[in-house]
């Protein structure tokens, strides 16, 4: 009887495989975000090269790309660029944001961002905006009820857009939680123990475990620390496996 290839077996553990697959599903969405970020930065640089500051009309050049992402990337239901207040010359704030309609159509989000009329005009405190701005890195916000843009229970993936070294806003994509569940539930159900996925704060993002439904909190473990360490752990009877590249943890009861 030969020696078992220990490391290889560890790598092939079903929960490690599932965690990697989940990371991969969101990685595809992050590719959309990165492409939007690159398009936006290129556009902003072109405008700067003309010796002027950008206006909201300039962002119309992003539309063909945004429409393509919406039709091609199955998980993405909303995508766009959200400008940092003060970036554009003609408006104080702006979302160049497009969404998939119920019948496969693509439509713009038109928000009233006038603080004199809307109580929701300031979007700079939402996690999808604040996290990339404050950390300089990409982020996954949610699950949360998105009452600003879609009225859906969502995950929003975003990353900072930079212009001449400064923060210009965020490129982002929305994944409705019901679509995320459709994508990952078959993976979770392959595992022999009841499994669910939580974010860094312990909020359940998808679950094959009726004791832990989406939106509830799994209390106890410090999921943030586990994600920073990027190594599997154990808490009580639970096994915890970080998903590679995205701030989600696979929890096995």
């Amino acid at each position: 009887m030969g020696v078992r290839p220990g490391l290889a077996t560890l790598g092939a553990e079903p929960e490690t495989w599932v965690a990697t697959q989940v990371g991969g599903a969101l990685e595809a969405v992050f590719e959309t975000v990165a492409a939007t970020r690159a398009d936006t930065e290129a556009l902003l640089h072109r405008v700067a090269a003309q010796g002027r500051r950008p206006a909201s009309a300039d962002l119309a050049a992003l539309r063909p790309g945004l429409h393509l992402h919406l039709t091609r990337e199955k998980l993405v239901s909303g995508v766009g660029f959200v400008a940092a207040p003060g970036l554009l010359t003609d408006v104080p704030a702006w979302l160049e944001w497009w969404q998939s309609g119920a019948h496969g159509d693509v439509r713009p989000l038109l928000l009233d961002l006038d603080p004199g009329r809307s109580a929701y005009s300031d979007y700079t405190h939402w996690d999808w905006f604040a996290l990339p701005r404050d950390t300089g890195r990409r982020a996954v916000a949610g699950p949360y009820v998105d009452y600003l843009c879609s009225d859906e229970y969502s995950l929003t993936l975003s990353e900072p857009v930079r212009l001449q070294g400064g923060f210009a806003g965020v490129a982002a994509a929305d994944v409705y939680l019901r679509h995320f569940e459709t994508a990952v539930l078959p993976l979770l159900r392959r595992l022999s123990r009841p499994a669910h996925l939580v974010n860094a704060r312990g909020r359940v993002a998808a679950s094959a475990d009726p004791a832990h439904l989406a939106g509830s909190l799994t209390k106890g473990p410090d999921f943030g620390a586990l994600l920073s360490a990027a190594r599997p752990g154990v808490y009580g009877g639970m096994r915890l496996v970080p998903c590679r590249g995205v701030p989600l943890v696979l929890v096995l009861a």
Partner: protein, 252 residues
């Protein structure tokens, strides 16, 4: 025998179906359109002098017939909230009359019976109470930042319209903290109905303070995970506001 049963069955089906597809009470639809547009004008969502879309487009967007829309526009003209100009460059325009906003709001409140206000309050209490109970079970401290920010902004807001927008935002954020998209959507829809009316009770600085205090105690209970207390406090807050509105209505 079998045939007879079938015929009776068809007849009763027919009656029920005719009722389903009979026209919705036209008066109610006119009132609903008058309220919707009137509230939007009071809240400043439609600005003074702004041109409304053409009749057929507006009717289509509101999902009513042009006849219904015309009746509603006529009522809004009578209230002085809309003017209509004929000919080139004509159309319907938002116009804020010279009478003080308070008087206009009172005129709008007169369009509500106390029974309707009571029912609206019951619906609101059901939504906010349920949201507070769920939020207490599902919210972690980070999520409470938005509710706190809204409460602090409420204590700073100078005019009644801004106060009512923030009051509404608190309850929308509470529903979002419950992690329920459905409760949130319902709360947004409810606030679009009650928002303008709340200006009438929030103009009073002392009551504004009371609301802010009530919101703070809801936040504390949610933070403590005391879900029954949170629910009861949220319901009380909402009921008190509705009771004040009813009192204003009865004094008209």
């Amino acid at each position: 025998m079998h045939e007879v049963v079938t015929v009776i069955q068809q007849e009763s089906d027919g009656t029920a179906r005719r009722a389903v597809f009979s026209p919705v009470d036209n008066r109610a639809r006119v009132d609903a359109v008058v309220r919707r547009l009137g509230d939007a004008i009071e809240l400043g969502l439609l600005a003074d002098g702004e041109q409304l879309p053409g009749e057929s487009e507006l009717a289509a967007r509101l999902g009513v017939s042009t006849v219904t829309l015309r009746e509603a526009l006529m009522a809004l003209r009578q209230q002085g909230l809309v003017t209509t100009r004929r000919g080139r460059g004509g159309g319907s325009f938002v116009s804020l009359p010279e009478v003080p906003a308070d008087d206009r709001l009172r005129a709008r409140l007169r369009g509500w019976s106390t029974e309707e206000l009571r029912d609206l309050g019951d619906h609101w209490a059901a939504l906010s109470g349920a949201a507070a109970r769920l939020a207490a079970q599902r919210t972690e401290p980070e999520d409470l930042r938005q509710l706190r920010r809204t409460t602090e902004e409420l204590t700073q807001a100078r005019d009644a319209a801004a106060r009512s927008r923030l009051y509404g935002r608190f309850h929308v954020e509470l529903a979002a903290a419950a992690q329920s998209a459905r409760l949130t959507r319902e709360q947004v829809a409810l606030q679009s109905e009650i928002g303008a009316l709340l200006c009438l009770v929030l103009a009073d600085g002392a009551y504004r303070e009371e609301v802010a205090d009530r919101h703070r105690s809801v936040i504390s209970a949610v933070q403590d995970g005391a879900h029954e207390t949170a629910g009861t406090l949220a319901e009380r807050c909402v009921r008190e506001s509705t009771a004040r509105l009813v009192a204003v209505r009865l004094a008209l």
